[in-house]
């Protein structure tokens, strides 16, 4: 059912509104299994809202979302999520390993405490993101890139087939960004589906194989080579591109 060609996320006619104002309008989006897709669009385009809709944290005004071939409730344990780094308090009194171990909490039942198996999972996840040496650190002693890798490790400890990341490269140094991209591409190679809210248009063709252009409505979605061109970017960012120098100077040429 989840073989090649099937859909990891299938969104139909999705409309979400806050206080009568539409944030997402009639969005149809397919995310095929095994791709790494960027979700791009200007500020206020509804990117985070779209992620939160897929995760069931936002009640849509209309439309339907199917995840990994079922309802969200059925798929929940197979989704891993990396929220925006700024959404949590990094002075919170926990260690890096404690945070990563939280990734295993979804599989643990109610009232059950994490034990040796969960500790092992957390250690392995830290190893994969190159953060083993920081396991006992308090999280406020981390750099931005290390914080992001901690969050990524927590998502790895969750172990989902669908990995959803909200601006994972925000405030991250170039070396960490490269390391995260390599890891994500490796995960995609293992058949996982990766959906990323992304800001830097320059790197889209390099990092991703698919892209969705969003500005309240979905402008275009599909393979980067087909849909990531100047006409679509103008439609997405409007005539007055907020950040013109970050737009690619010319449309990428399809191979």
């Amino acid at each position: 059912m989840n073989g090649p060609g099937s859909l990891a996320v299938e969104i139909r006619d999705l409309t979400v509104a806050y206080r009568e104002r539409p944030v997402l309008w009639d969005v149809d989006l397919d995310v095929p299994v095994g791709v790494m897709m960027a979700l791009v669009g200007p500020n206020g385009a509804g990117k985070t809202t779209l992620l939160r809709s897929i995760l069931g944290q936002v009640a849509p005004a209309s439309g339907s979302i199917r995840v990994l071939g079922g309802t969200l409730e059925e798929a929940r344990q197979r989704i891993a999520y990396v929220p925006q780094r700024g959404r949590v308090d990094w002075d919170f009194p926990v260690s890096v390993e404690d945070v990563v171990r939280m990734g295993t909490f979804g599989r643990l039942g109610w009232l059950r405490r994490p034990g040796a198996a969960e500790r092992r999972t957390a250690r392995e996840a830290l190893e994969r993101v190159g953060m083993s040496d920081f396991a006992r650190r308090q999280i406020s002693q981390l750099s931005g890139g290390q914080q992001q890798r901690t969050f990524l490790a927590r998502a790895l400890a969750q172990g989902g087939e669908l990995l959803i990341l909200d601006e994972p490269f925000q405030g991250v140094d170039a070396r960490t960004e490269r390391a995260i991209v390599d890891l994500l591409q490796e995960l995609r190679g293992q058949g996982r589906t990766i959906l990323v809210v992304h800001h830097d248009l320059q790197t889209v063709p390099d990092y991703f194989d698919q892209v969705a252009l969003l500005n309240v409505q979905l402008v275009a979605a599909g393979p980067v080579a087909l849909v990531f061109h100047e006409a679509n970017l103008r439609l997405t960012y409007g005539g007055r591109a907020r950040d013109p120098e970050r737009l690619p100077q010319s449309a990428p040429v399809a191979p």
Binding site: Q57, R76, I79, R87, V88, P93, V94, V99, F105
Partner: protein, 297 residues
């Protein structure tokens, strides 16, 4: 003499129990940035106390506590209703609700005290607290609340710790975040209401906040912080209780709050995890480590 000893024991035990419970639970109040919520609940409780007394004519703790709890919850519901219906910001709304309910309570209190009924004498102890009026059966309630809080925190530790750190992530795991939030809030209301007689509506929230803030300066692990905050809460409770016993006219609330503030100052200065003294030393060490990291690539 024996009677006085018994009273002193009740006072100190009561102050210690409410400090212990308030401190431990306060860790979550502080980390979830809900300090002002505690203030709303305690201030909003006053009209409930007055109303409960007026309706029942009784000064018994359960009747007044029920009134206080209902009014405190009403204050919180009012605040969240206004927040949902308007574009006002949270701190403004909480401040508004807090002072409106408190003003209402003060009016009621003044009116009750002008009535020619002798029984009302002493209702004003709920303003600043008077642990000397604690009875043995009040201790039983406090001990029950302490057990309830300790048991719930132990049972739902993993859930509460994730909720406090990253509620979004907890929601993504499919956890009933609103239910967990409600449990923590109800526990907070219970602790506040049971502390009102001892600490008073004006200063009660300090007993939630100060021990947790002090504890945070000594540890950066949630479990240790919770235990330490409970211990420090009990300590300032006993210190404040003893102070108010030693000076007969001193209300318990201010005495406890002064002890708590002293502890916070001490911890901010000397605490090993954020105190001014150590953080200066740590900055120097980090600069050195940074240089070494650069040198060794």
């Amino acid at each position: 003499m024996i009677q006085l000893d018994h009273m002193a024991r009740v006072v100190l035990a009561g102050c210690a129990l409410i400090g212990l419970t308030g401190g431990a639970l306060g860790t979550f109040v502080v980390l979830r940035r809900q300090s002002l919520v505690g203030d709303v609940v305690s201030h909003a409780a006053l009209p409930g106390i007055v109303l409960a007394f007026w309706l029942t004519g009784s000064r018994s703790t359960p009747a007044l506590a029920a009134g206080a709890a209902l009014a405190g919850l009403a204050g919180m519901l009012a605040a969240s209703w206004i927040l949902r219906r308007t574009l006002l910001r949270e701190d403004g709304v909480l401040g508004l609700v807090l002072s409106s309910f408190f003003g209402l309570g003060l009016m009621g209190l003044t009116w009750i005290q002008r009535q020619p009924d002798a029984a009302q004498a002493g209702l004003d102890r709920y303003l600043f607290g008077n642990a000397a009026t604690l009875l043995s059966q009040d201790l039983a309630w406090m001990a029950g609340a302490a057990l309830l809080v300790a048991g719930t925190l132990a049972l739902l530790w993993k859930e509460f710790s994730l909720l406090a750190f990253d509620a979004d992530f907890a929601a993504q795991l499919g956890w009933p975040v609103r239910g967990l939030d409600l449990i923590l809030t109800l526990l907070t209301v219970v602790v506040i209401v049971l502390g009102l007689q001892t600490v008073g509506v004006v200063l009660m929230s300090t007993l939630l906040i100060a021990p947790a803030v002090a504890a945070r300066q000594w540890t950066d692990r949630l479990g240790r912080m919770t235990l330490l905050a409970g211990g420090l809460g009990a300590l300032v409770g006993v210190l404040g209780g003893a102070g108010s016993l030693a000076f007969a006219r001193l209300p318990t609330g201010p005495a406890i709050v002064l002890a708590a503030s002293g502890l916070v100052l001490l911890s901010l200065g000397l605490g090993t995890r954020g105190g001014w003294m150590w953080s200066g030393l740590r900055r120097r060490r980090q600069r050195r480590e940074g240089r070494e990291a650069v040198l060794h690539g």
